[in-house]
Symmetry: C2
Subunit: 542 residues, 2 copies
């Protein structure tokens, strides 16, 4: 209704409109809490004033090299201060942060550097070997800056300058500007697809700001938490937590290598109050040896977990050991976490097994996610809220990616019908909570029945000898497919295939039980997800 | 840089963009916590599912009367469920909520109805007398709906229908749409100017959403707080707390009349954990009689206060009695609170008087406010951070109003130079915290020296006999102006003018001390601000 008095002489101006951007959060942290610790890494310790100044130096140094708006800057690093600072310094220059998974092979990294058109690469000396190969394979010729670090053993220097020297070329008072549009790109994250080339997911300032705030709302994050970096920052920008921590002026405790001893040491010696991690990290914690663990936890430690639905047994053991687990779920395309199993206080009165069952659900949308549904992928008709009918999980809202970089076809497919297609399958419970039943490709269809591999895994985890379990479909002449379980036993524990199958038959419908059990370590991605496609290959050839 | 791959094929679409609006917050509260209490008023109790359904009924009923996008709907009501629901139901219909201060005179209300072009008026029966006069004076002929309530004594019915019957004409499943633009108006709030006609401040969905979230960040608001409505909802939309409470699925406890007994009863019987209020409300609490107070507080009660800087003595007594005070500052033009005296934990180790002095500062910008400065009003040059140089307080960001309704001249003046001019005077401390020294018009200029009336008031509050104090300028032939104090003594306390002046001379620079002291009750606005212009008039004629 143009012409309304509410739309007349009431336009945006410099006083009443600013682009939403996480950059405003670090400026405020540095202004209000300049002396509070922002980043701790071994003996190094930076306050918010220092982290802000270092980020401005980085922005300035890049600008002086002609790197600016919409230029991609790749970073290959462990969870070290340089990568944290890149989350601010790069966008202050207008550049786009492309944090690369450090465990990828050289050919994939070369593909990413070329596809992302990287103008610069900051590379942690720990990864200079693979980076060197990747640079040799890549067509692009980025400016290379090495990140040196006291806790790296050795590793070649590849670039013309070390990171600290590069910062030295920048101005700590650099007059950065907020983005001229909150839709501007802030980060580029390549998905670790199981087939084909990875796709580059583009985040914008608006979404990064909103998810940074959404994490606070979801986790009820207090001011000044001490946060341990168990989750790689290259994974969905650490679920946007670098920006979240600026919003609450929290302290980032870096951790180059995630070990049980390292986690417990950080809790005891650094005062860690919060960390995030895939179930593999939870497993590390609950299976820690007494000498790794040390004394009882000095306080409840808040843990946010995602990646794959944590088995009820794992959740239960975490809580018994003094961790409080918040279960979230998301994907690279939605900036990391997008749903949370929002807790109802009355659930805390239930038996702990029921609590664990409720908590293993993926739950409801983040407050900043507009909408979430489980629906028929063809018609987009929502499934009934019966906790049984399978459908695909769909999302929409401001924390859904801008799209795939230089890939309009994939973008259009992902957004077909006005919803983001997650590719994950689940059910909708009567209370509006979703529960994943499987990634699309992981489902086992046996004798016409859909079988959730997650359900089988959850059952296996309840067996006392099981450390880890992953189930995939194995081709079968009679049934089409049958479930095949790959399991790792705990140190010193023993169990036979027959025993585990019998245990499953005692605890779930017989048609769902694994027909095959294979023992041994599980292949995993760098973020702790089991590489099920590797297991599917193995299952074919059993 | 058009043509960048980051700006190509990566547009907004239904999957990845939604207008920011507080309406998304109530939808989520009703979906995730349908059975939790949303609003309690006497014996009436509505869950989030019910409040959502009632809001949809309201939207539907208005729509069926042809009231929709950009139509103003005025509400004159105490803090009752209908006004809470109006914060959601009106914008669901696309309408703009104009909550009117219930203590205004009929002529001013008539002006507001006409200037705001109200299409409907919901009126609480308590205020039907003045509303009837206003309607007689106004040119506009709105649809009138009466709000009846068990706790209203009497009062004429003015409209064609009572509110509950009106809701009955609406559909609880009404398919409302989010705003097509987050810049759309959501509320219209008239300032209670001291001279001339009130100005209509327009809020938009984006700002309302961000301040609703900003309140959570600022107050570290946990999920499901129980919030007592001591602050009028017609005051800057209750500082956006109706929307904040939807975001945290909290419970609103209504309170028609703010009394000490009512506050303590709600704390003891309703489990109230949080409330907001002007210093007058804090005064009520700390000066409550034992029989009003009841037993010791069952828990720390969080109090957010603003309006005028609370004297250190009041803050100190609140904390001693078990209230934890958060000090914010703002204006109608910035959706309510815009700054907060963000606390540093090390300050808690200081003597309580020092803590109170630090806490009486207005502090730093809300996380959602982009920028804040104290500057020369002519040049916009920031004052030095010396805690002494006076300047005007300026703000900018997304929680600054859209502008003044049908008043482009006032809008342009308010936003001159790309900053919102608050009209308030203050200093910037070396740590970046602002402290108000006076509203522009309240300053006393005596012998060429600027004297802060707030400083004098703070001193007076430290005298044991003082209940309330307000200082204004009194014209003086020799000095230009001298400070004139109006004071109210506590029940049973006595003090002479000479004694109070001597007390001031013992505690502050002599040139700043009041030359005149007048005893008696202070004239106040409906929101508890002292009407200093009335006192200035009186001071002239002393």
């Amino acid at each position: 209704m143009a012409g309304s008095a509410y739309d007349t002489d009431l336009d945006r101006n410099a006083a009443n409109y600013t682009a939403l951007s996480p950059l405003s959060l670090i400026r405020r942290a540095a202004a209000v809490y300049p002396d509070k610790p922002a980043v701790i890494h071994g003996d190094r310790r930076f306050t918010w004033a220092e982290t802000y100044a270092r980020s401005r130096r980085l922005a300035s140094a890049l600008s002086r090299r002609g790197i600016g708006k919409n230029d991609t800057v790749a970073v290959m690093a462990a969870n070290v201060p340089a990568l944290y600072e890149a989350h601010f310094g790069l966008p202050m220059a207008g550049a786009v942060l492309n944090a690369i998974n450090t465990r990828l092979d050289a050919a994939t990294i070369a593909f990413i550097l070329d596809h992302g058109e990287a103008r610069a690469l900051l590379v942690d000396r720990e990864f200079s070997g693979v980076a060197k190969q990747a640079l040799a394979l890549a067509k692009t010729r980025p400016l290379v800056v090495d990140i040196d670090d006291a806790d790296i053993g050795d590793g070649e220097f590849l670039g013309e300058m070390e990171y600290e020297a590069f910062l030295g070329t920048g101005d700590p008072e650099f007059a950065w500007s907020p983005p001229d549009d909150e839709w501007n790109a802030i980060a580029l994250n390549y998905t670790s697809g199981t087939t084909g080339n990875p796709k580059g997911v583009v985040y914008h300032h608006r979404g990064a700001y909103l998810l940074a705030i959404g994490n606070i709302l979801t986790w009820n994050l207090p001011p000044h938490p001490t946060y341990l970096w168990t989750l790689p920052m290259f994974h969905c920008n650490g679920w946007c937590f670098p920006w979240t921590l600026a919003a609450v002026a929290g302290t980032s405790v870096c951790l180059r290598r995630v070990t049980a001893a390292g986690i417990f040491q950080a809790i005891h010696e650094r005062g860690v109050s919060h960390f995030c991690g895939a179930p593999i990290v939870l497993n590390l914690a609950i299976n820690a040896k007494p000498e790794e663990r040390g004394p009882a936890l000095p306080r409840t430690v808040e843990v946010m977990t995602a990646a794959a639905p944590p088995p009820a047994a794992v959740l239960q053991r975490m809580e018994q050991q003094g961790f409080h687990v918040t279960h979230v779920y998301g994907l690279t395309e939605v900036y990391g976490p997008a749903t949370v199993c929002a807790w109802h206080e009355e659930w805390s009165l239930l038996p702990i097994e029921d609590q664990a069952r409720l908590k293993s659900r993926q739950g409801v949308g983040y407050a900043v996610l507009e909408d979430l549904m489980v629906a028929d992928p063809a018609t987009l008709a929502p499934v009934p809220r019966d906790g049984a009918t399978m459908g695909e999980v769909f999302m929409r809202g401001n924390t859904v990616m801008k799209g795939y970089f230089r890939n309009p076809k994939a973008t259009d497919e992902a957004f077909a019908g006005g919803w983001f297609h997650t590719g994950d399958l689940g059910v909708m419970h009567p209370d509006g909570y979703i529960e994943l039943k499987d990634r699309s490709k992981d489902i086992v269809i046996s004798g016409g029945e859909n079988i959730s591999t997650i359900e089988i895994e959850s059952t296996l985890y309840r067996h006392p000898a099981i450390l880890e379990a992953a189930v995939v479909a194995r081709p079968d002449e009679k049934w089409g497919e049958t479930p095949c379980a790959f399991v790792t036993l705990k140190d010193g524990a023993t169990a036979s295939a027959a025993e585990l199958i019998a245990f499953c038959r005692d605890n779930m419908a017989h048609f769902k039980c694994p027909r095959t059990v294979v023992f041994g370590p599980l292949p995993k991605t760098s973020t702790g997800k089991v590489r099920k496609y590797v297991l599917r290959e193995r299952a074919i050839h059993l």
